[in-house]
Symmetry: C2
Subunit: 508 residues, 2 copies
Amino acid sequence: MTDTKTKIQEEIKIQGDLVRKLKSEKADKSKIDDEVSKLLALKAKLNENDADAGDAGQGGKFVLKTPKGSRDYGPLQMSLRNGVLDKIIKVFRRHGAETIDTPVFELKEVLTGKYGEDSKLIYDLKDQGGEALSLRYDLTVPFARYLAMNKITNIKRYQIAKVYRRDNPAMTRGRYREFFQCDFDIAGQYDPMLPEVECLRVVVEILNSLELGKFVVKVNHRALLDAIFDAAGVPANMFRAICSSVDKLDKSPWDDVKKEMVEEKGLSAETADLIGTYVRQSGGVELLERLAADEAISKTKTGPGGIESLKLFLHYAELTGVSSYVSVDMSLARGLDYYTGLIYEAVLVGAEVGSVAGGGRYDGLVGLFDPKGKQVPCVGVSIGVERIFSVVEARAANGPKVRTTHVQVYVASAQKNLQDERLKLCALLWDANINVEQSYKKSPKLLAQLQHCEEQGVPLVVILGEDEIKRGVVKVRDVSSRSEQEVARDSLVDHLKQRLAQMQTIDS
Amino acid sequence: MTDTKTKIQEEIKIQGDLVRKLKSEKADKSKIDDEVSKLLALKAKLNENDADAGDAGQGGKFVLKTPKGSRDYGPLQMSLRNGVLDKIIKVFRRHGAETIDTPVFELKEVLTGKYGEDSKLIYDLKDQGGEALSLRYDLTVPFARYLAMNKITNIKRYQIAKVYRRDNPAMTRGRYREFFQCDFDIAGQYDPMLPEVECLRVVVEILNSLELGKFVVKVNHRALLDAIFDAAGVPANMFRAICSSVDKLDKSPWDDVKKEMVEEKGLSAETADLIGTYVRQSGGVELLERLAADEAISKTKTGPGGIESLKLFLHYAELTGVSSYVSVDMSLARGLDYYTGLIYEAVLVGAEVGSVAGGGRYDGLVGLFDPKGKQVPCVGVSIGVERIFSVVEARAANGPKVRTTHVQVYVASAQKNLQDERLKLCALLWDANINVEQSYKKSPKLLAQLQHCEEQGVPLVVILGEDEIKRGVVKVRDVSSRSEQEVARDSLVDHLKQRLAQMQTIDS
């Protein structure tokens, strides 16, 4: 490390000399700019090297930043984020879900073998003596661990928490290494498709309440996908690998997917083409009827059952008023290995953000954690809140100002040295559970105080002046209309509460 | 690692043989039990070794647990936790605070050099190529990093999030390696003691709203502590070290603290005794007057200023109606190095849980992150929510049943095969924003459905029967009184909304 550092420092010196020389020669500006940017790149490299070596503590400077792929949420982003989450939680509660919380890290073994080749993206903690730990990669595996550990055989729960993946971040598109997941799952041995349709209904209610525009919930069934592979002549041990190729159809054209199947996964061109004719179909009941009549599919072990399940699902979707949102889509495959039944994915129509919800049934996961392999069937959906945040943030940037505090009344003074009086008045209003703020300056200017209120969207100001104090009154100002009226201190609390109720301000 | 494993496996084999031998000999039961428990200990050791080596993925069994010092929160704990946090957030909002969020990890350098000897408790992430990262140790340092990075010179913010310390957990007393912090801080260049008194007011409002019983907020000032050390003859470079000895006075008797000062830190017995006479005093304004009149203190550089500050603080506390909660306590020192002014700590009177809030002014921390060392003065308090959770959990164990869902209405069926009708009715009520649940079984027993409602505290049940369906009515049952009444389906939504409003059920 130190060698690398010395080397970079030398390069910086040489490059710095070059820049100084060019400048003293008054060389061509674009030439200088080129060399300056090379210099800055070297300095950035040095900083990175320092960061990697962890030697900034020894007096080195370091870049002031959050770790790669992570971000701070400022007050505005928090307002938007909490607004989204509040609406989502309302729907979860409407459907009777409880919530749980699990640690940010798990024993490494809990995650081992659950994510296939994505396991390389797991963040491990350093071995500092003790247990081998990793940061959670999703909320589903910790949920399964929680169920097995506590021998819980049925629960309907939601969990909203951050998860961690050492992926290449594409932060402008709402993809981070630290990001929120927001899951709703129903665990328990129940009758077919009843939990599934409630998950669908939850997704529909959430996407409608967030007013994100038109959306479609694509559904498919792993049993039907397997039947297609079977009918096309794919060997059973290749089903999941081919599934993962099919999964790419939402981003890649069929030709690319076919190429992968043939060249990388070794299918014959005929088999791939046969799969292609099946998986490029979507529709409703009529599609299912067509597939039921397909001789090759009907001869498979899993096809007829998968079709029946999807039919029942569509029937229940109809009864609960959400069938118009559903499209049976044979190309929907979902990447994760652990799904065993119905799978879903919701996408906004005509938007570029990708899926905004997804999930499915996973009946085998909990059993992996139970010492006796006891299964707890589960089905769930994950709401793509990060993508939703980025849609909402983009929208807010062009909309009216979003408030970041809940202040209802600002206590201002019109003259100097009224700090004591202001404090007494604040205490009176805090005691009455009114959200109140004042300046932390002893003698703030009235104009500055009023401006603060206009900028922050505080609805009412109580203004103290010496004359008013003598007469036992205060002025109450409406910030948006700028009208003022005198109110007796004795009736101030009632007066404010009435006006705030009329204004329907954000409550605490 | 493999050597250790082989060794333990051999020991297990020997011990296993011994147990089998004793059993076959029908030896004394207590003797067998002893040897069996030794065997189990060895097996646990093997499991731990597997966990350390991370080789459970290779087929080894592992203990199903959360990492040392961490825990899951089940639905009941979440209800209690969210109840506590909601009350706290209400107070933060009443005082106009915004909220922010920062990543769970920071560049290692951000934390380096901020926590003195406690730095050894920081969790580091494994070097997987890229930046050196650590889990946050508190919320204050990330907050300071956030301010410096975004060049924010004033903000009033709260943040509630988990932090991580590789401490020896004492989980029964509410001490964990992963635990919540709940911070309220005011950053900005303001007039003396105005932000400080608002922090005090926030603590008092929170502790009162949580109804935890009687409490005292101890306060002191680092300038006055330094003056005492100065007056007693402690060299300036020893102030912080002696401060940390004084900090132990809440847990250890004076003799132990004195011993540490003399034997470990090298003070003379006379100097230590002199410190002892000062720091064992507490009181109000009268104590400050006495100290102001103390010749040795008044001659120090920082003493008179510290006393004036505390007097102003008490004056403002009086004006805001919270002075009765305050005690000036010369033994209050606070462990952290970064405090520079007023410090606080709230304790429950007669309870064994330790402090439930603490904080102080730290004017130098943000400057450590600014490239030009630009300072942003800050003062804040941290609410000891983990201790509060453990108090509330203990209380709930002896109180009435706590609800973990928000279900208002359960849709039940009196006969078999009414699943379709139940689903239609659920959809009707979900559309009306009523929190509704039904069974996921096609033909559940009526008694089982009603029992579920009683156990879960669901207030109302809508019961469907074939006869009622024909007549266009349903039965509505009040779960607690068990009274039932017939309601026309057309007016069901209005009827339920009215009854729920009267019942003031937990809303979504």
